[in-house]
């Protein structure tokens, strides 16, 4: 057999599998097997599972089944990332639209107590195809702006879906409907706490990092203290701050008037700030340490003063690393802010803790899902910024 024959035969060998795709297809298969929806007669009883074909009218269920089969095949085999992205986004949109359809389909007419919520199968399917989309996006190696653009498109799609009312039959949105005003005021508090604490940590942490970079003795002591703060369990730190802040509010004139008190927003902000300080300070120091020695020597040798060196050479070169620190604390704080609800600080945590105490998982999701979405969006945007500012780097 000649070489060309061998090559021809090898061209017609088995189609090649995508390794991650095998995993994604397996997860999706699990999603198909597990119940697509849960039906409950009221919000606190246990749910009855509904599979795809009993959760949707037959035509829609058929379309979904075909889409899922095609999606799994595309995930499984080696196709171009763009095709995988298109397939996964189409399926994600279909899943969310059909969950809304199913909620109306399963709810008996004029029944205000019945709750229909997505089941484990739905969440696994969303996870599988979100993974496929994320993998495809990574392989496309998009530049920062297109990535932010895609994020904006996804946000727009979610907004349109919610505004259209097609999801209003889903249980979590029924919880939302009864407390819409509260939702938006807690959302505001959540954003204020998470972003505010990071902003203060940046304003304080970057100068502290610069100073301790210049003074090695201070650096060691300071990093130790911040490390210890970082190890205090978050609930404990929130609790520990109640006593001193209550004391300040009671004894310092005017402190109570500007909102300082033992419980509420003030201790939450202070605790989140304390957690943010270490990553910001240490990333500032690491960033400054990573400035190439030769660039610094040349800057000195050409007659830059200390301040000029900091402003023209050291800080710009350290900036991507500092921004990475800010990204870490922002994503961390968006999640951590949920605990602030325990000490009356507000935020999405309010719904999570209410939901837990009432064993109403729909209410827990009303707090958890926006938190995850917010953290994810912040990560994507800041990652893009970090990449945009890293044009320098090592020569």
């Amino acid at each position: 057999m000649s070489n060309s024959q061998a090559a021809a035969i090898s061209r017609f060998s088995w189609p090649r599998f995508d390794k991650l795709g095998v995993l994604i297809a397996a997860i999706a298969l699990g999603g198909v097997v597990l119940p697509f929806m849960l039906f409950r007669a009221n919000r606190i009883v246990l749910g009855e599972p509904r599979a795809i074909f009993s959760a949707l009218p037959v035509p829609e269920a058929g379309v979904l089944a075909l889409l899922l089969a095609a999606g799994m095949l595309i995930a499984l085999l080696r196709f171009k990332p763009a095709l995988k992205l298109a397939a996964s986004l189409t399926i994600l949109v279909a899943l969310f639209v059909l969950v809304g359809r199913s909620a109306y389909f399963l709810t008996p007419p004029d029944d205000n107590f019945a709750r229909v919520s997505p089941g484990a199968g739905f969440w696994l399917l969303v996870f599988a195809f979100a993974l496929l989309a994320a993998d495809a996006l990574t392989r496309l190696r998009l530049k920062p702006w297109p990535r932010i653009g895609i994020l904006a498109l996804v946000a727009l799609a979610i907004g349109v879906l919610l505004a259209s009312g097609s999801l209003n039959g889903v249980s979590t949105l029924k919880e939302y409907a009864t407390r819409a005003d509260r939702f938006w005021s807690e959302a505001q508090t959540h954003v204020l706490l998470a972003f505010g604490s990071v902003l203060i940590a940046t304003i304080v942490g970057v100068p502290v990092g610069i100073i301790s970079f210049r003074l090695p003795k201070l650096r060691a002591a300071l990093l130790n203290v911040l490390n210890i703060v970082q190890t205090i369990p978050s609930i404990a730190l929130f609790g520990l701050l109640i006593a001193p802040l209550a004391w300040i509010a009671a004894t310092v004139p005017g402190a109570a008037a500007i909102g300082i008190s033992g419980i509420g927003v003030a201790p939450a902000l202070v605790a989140l700030f304390a957690y943010s300080l270490l990553p910001v300070v240490s990333n500032t120091i690491v960033g400054l340490q990573s400035v190439p020695e030769t660039a610094n020597d040349a800057a000195k040798g050409m007659g830059m003063t200390g301040a000029q060196r900091m402003g023209w050479v050291e800080l710009p070169l350290a900036f991507p690393v500092i921004l990475t620190g800010i990204r870490i604390v922002l994503v961390q704080n968006i999640g951590l802010t949920t605990i602030a609800a325990l000490i009356g600080g507000g935020g999405f945590g309010v719904f999570i803790f209410q939901g837990i105490s009432q064993t109403a998982m729909d209410l827990v999701l009303l707090g958890a899902v926006p938190t995850v979405v917010l953290a994810f969006a912040a990560a994507v945007v800041l990652d893009a910024f970090v990449e945009m500012t890293s044009t320098g780097g090592q020569p």
Binding site: P292, T294, A295, D297, A298, A299, K300, G301, M302, G303, M304, T305, Q308, W312, V313, P316, L317, T391, G392, G393, Q394, P395
Partner: protein, 310 residues
């Protein structure tokens, strides 16, 4: 003129530079040679006060450098280092414009100077001005580093192993470029190197240092023919002393009237090149040409008499 007088640098108990006295004539190239740890870099860095001397004085054109603010002094002195030290986040144009910007030159003047320097170093301004250093080859980065050091037209240029990171072919080209620029602008250059070959090639005077002490400060001819200590002799190496000596002179100076067989050699070639050609082609004399015209010959006897101490 740079006058270095009994300069000493001591760290705790170690003396890094010990009572070094050197006078560097304006418009000349002084090569400081030594092994690592010899104190040559510290000596260089004391000239622009990146290292403060423990004792002694340095005068530039009669002015004591300790009386000037360190950063003002440094803006008047060009500084180029091994691995170029370009700012990785700044374009080639911005890198070169660093000192003019520090000195407060206006934009037009700075831009014109950047263009002039890029052309001088054979880098097309339209193509290179806005590139980042990492988009350049090693040789190009090194040229930008030297261009940046010369941006504010300093009288003095300090260079610390400027060609250390380059491969031999690019290094030879960079050395030639530096010499031609030095001749054109009469810049006083102090260049630190561990490579005696490079020192002989570039230096009008060579300062040999070891363990912080100045062993010999003399012209390349003297260093080769009359090394002051065994260490200097060792640095030169006895094996190719004659060839090093020959490499210092050009053919033009020793042309004799007459003619010879075979391909001619250019009048600008070194005696070493001529000697190599004579040996290789087995001739006793070479015709010498200047701009394509034969102007005489150079003989093996003539060369032999210049390959030993005069």
């Amino acid at each position: 003129m740079i006058e270095i007088e009994a300069i000493t640098k001591t760290y705790d108990l170690t003396t890094v530079v010990d009572q070094v006295t050197i006078t560097i004539e304006p418009g000349s190239v002084c090569a400081v040679v030594g092994t690592s740890g010899s104190g040559k870099t510290t000596l260089l860095r004391m000239i622009n006060r990146l290292v403060e001397p423990t004792s002694g004085a340095i005068r530039i054109d009669g002015e004591d450098t300790s009386t000037i603010h360190a950063y003002e002094l440094r803006r008047r002195i060009g500084y180029a280092i091994q691995g170029h030290g370009l700012f990785p986040h700044r374009s080639v144009g911005q890198n070169i414009a660093t000192v003019p910007k520090l000195l407060g030159w206006d934009k037009e003047k700075t831009k014109a100077r950047v263009t002039e320097l890029l052309e001088l170093f054979q880098l097309d301004p339209a193509q290179f001005r806005d590139r980042l250093p990492r988009e350049l080859s090693g040789g190009q980065q090194q040229r930008v580093g030297v261009a940046r050091a010369l941006a504010a037209k300093p009288n003095i240029l300090l260079m610390d192993e400027p060609f250390g990171a380059l491969d031999p072919v690019i290094r030879a080209k960079a050395q030639e470029d530096l010499l031609s620029i030095q001749r054109q602008f009469k810049t006083t250059i102090v260049l630190v190197t561990h490579d005696m070959e490079e020192a002989i090639h570039l230096g009008d005077r060579i300062a040999v240092m070891d363990e912080g002490k100045l062993l010999q400060y003399a012209s390349p001819q003297q260093i080769i023919s009359k090394p002051a200590t065994p260490f200097v002799a060792e640095l030169i190496g006895t094996g190719d002393r004659p060839f090093k000596l020959l490499s210092l002179a050009r053919v033009g100076k020793y042309v004799e009237p007459g003619s010879a067989e075979g391909d001619p050699i250019d009048v600008g070639a070194t005696l070493r090149d001529a000697y190599a050609e004579l040996l290789w082609s087995g001739r006793a004399a070479l015709p010498v040409s200047e701009k394509g015209q034969l102007i005489g010959k150079i003989t093996l006897d003539q060369l032999s008499s210049h390959a030993r101490p005069q």
